[in-house]
Amino acid sequence: MSSLKDLQESFQRGILAGDDTILAEIKDSATEERKVLFGVYRHAYVARLAEVLADDYEQLHSYLGDAGFAKLAKSYIAAHPSDRKSARDFGRHVPEFLKTDAGFAKHPELAEIASLEKALADAFDGPDAKPLKLARLAETAPELWTSLVFAPHPTTIRLTFTTNAADIWSALREETAPPPARLLPEPQALLVWRQDVTSRFRPLGPEEAMMWDEAAAGTRFGVLCEMVATCGGEEGADFRAATYLKDWVDMESLADCRLLS
């Protein structure tokens, strides 16, 4: 007879590694053999986690198809035993897994589709914060704007894609045929955030992406305007910077602003 600790370790090995040692501790029922009965647990572990992955990576599932996604789920489940209390966290390594697994890494759009889905999910139940409103900015005297610094909404996530994964995701979401995967001539910047209760994303042009990254790092508005001028030309630079800022406020991707003393 094994102790409770030994029995649980053996039971877990039976589920994770297919080890049959535990069967010696289990009885046949009147109608079924112990191996079949224990198999209910073995099957449930893989089936439940595969379902979790399919829910969390819905468009990746559509893109890969049932057979392709089942192959991914099987390898991922074997490589990453669940180590969190919530199943919601189980698939958090999928983008990295797709990037590093020899079979999947040949298709770089896969990891990027997964990154987008994970970012949207993370934004969905990320921290709450009231969005920055234009009225709050209007309270600041125009001559002080150069000293303003901004805090991104805590749900914002910046991604940089090398493929057209965002277009593929959008097509799949609309249930239309996705465009063929291709590498982009230049990397594409994306911003993911939550507006009210809805996760959103949008591409950022190179100049806007540069300004976002600097703003998120705490660079004051006066310097942001100078950087925009350097990036895209001096003519209309202040207007372009102000337009980006207004867009961010309108889409509720900023949470706060303050004057840098």
């Binding site: 007879m1 409770l4 289990i26 029922s29 079924e32 572990y45 439940r48 669940s82 919530s86 919601r88």
Partner: protein
């Protein structure tokens, strides 16, 4: 810790995101909701907003799936801290989880795994329930699980084990009617023996659910309507335990809310037949 048994809440449903708008925009005939604790251990966004709105309108109980009370790995203090914080937000009538384990060595198998009914396991579980109750500052409610295997080393029946845990650890019980039916079928015991073997004064909640029949055994899938055989056990449970807060539990293949409300009405009807209407006036 309060010694008072939680009140009879009437007839409730498990809160599922698919039904948020129907619940908040309508007035379904539901007396209370059970929320899955882990689903709301998040930082913000829609889940917590919906939870707050439901809590403003309905009595709520919390139900967890990963306490792993019977695991031989140490209790997860981070999880317990988050559970306690969620309870402070929700103010649940009680907090339940399962009389099972879910993994060891930091692994979560996301399943409600069976315990050998031994004195060693009993002492272990009783000690852990006491620790959790001390940490939460309230009694825990434990649910009997469906199981597919029995262990050669078991020294007592499941209902003896469940009763001993409840009496020695001084906790409440969630009597899952479907799980009793499933385990009775799988292991060849009588559901009546189980329900007669559980102390009446410990049971604060019933779960009623559907399952999948595989001929040689039944799998507790919670993805079907409640079948007649489970309703029969429910009827016997109501007769034995009296008015107990009753809930339809559907976890997969989630139907429209109205379908679950119809099932809940069926439960109400059975309870009314067995106990008579005056006994079913919910405390709320």
């Amino acid at each position: 810790m309060s010694a008072a048994k939680p009140p009879f809440l009437g007839f409730g449903l498990g809160l599922r995101p698919q039904h948020y708008s129907e619940i908040l925009n309508g007035s379904p005939e539901v007396d209370w909701f059970e929320v899955l604790s882990e689903n709301y251990m998040v930082e913000g966004g829609q889940p917590l907003r919906m939870l707050d709105r439901i809590c403003e309108r309905y009595p709520v109980v919390m139900h967890g799936v990963s306490l792993s009370i019977a695991s031989t790995s140490p209790l997860d203090l981070d999880y317990l801290t988050r559970l306690k914080a969620l309870a402070a937000r929700v103010n649940p009538r009680w907090i339940s989880d399962h009389l099972c384990w879910t993994g060891v060595h930091g692994v979560n198998l996301h399943d409600l795994l069976p315990i050998p009914y031994t004195r060693e396991a009993l002492d272990h579980v009783v000690d852990r329930v006491s620790q959790v109750q001390d940490f939460l500052g309230r009694r825990l409610t434990l649910e009997n699980v469906s199981s597919y295997v029995t262990f050669g080393q078991s020294e007592m029946t499941e209902w003896e084990f469940v009763s001993e845990v409840a009496n020695r650890a001084d906790c409440w019980l969630l009597f899952d009617v479907n799980n009793v039916y499933v385990s009775a079928y799988n292991h060849g015991f009588s559901a009546d023996d189980f329900l007669n073997g559980v102390p009446r004064d410990r049971v604060v909640q019933f779960h009623v659910a559907g399952h999948s029949h595989e001929e040689s055994h039944i799998v507790d899938t919670h993805d079907h309507p409640v079948c007649d055989e489970v309703w029969d056990v429910y009827r016997a449970a109501v007769a034995h335990f009296g008015p107990v807060s009753t809930m339809i539990e559907r976890d997969d293949n989630i139907p429209p809310l109205t379908e679950l409300v119809d099932e809940l009405d069926h439960a109400r009807g059975i309870a009314r037949e067995v106990l008579g209407a005056p006994h079913l006036a919910a405390a709320e």
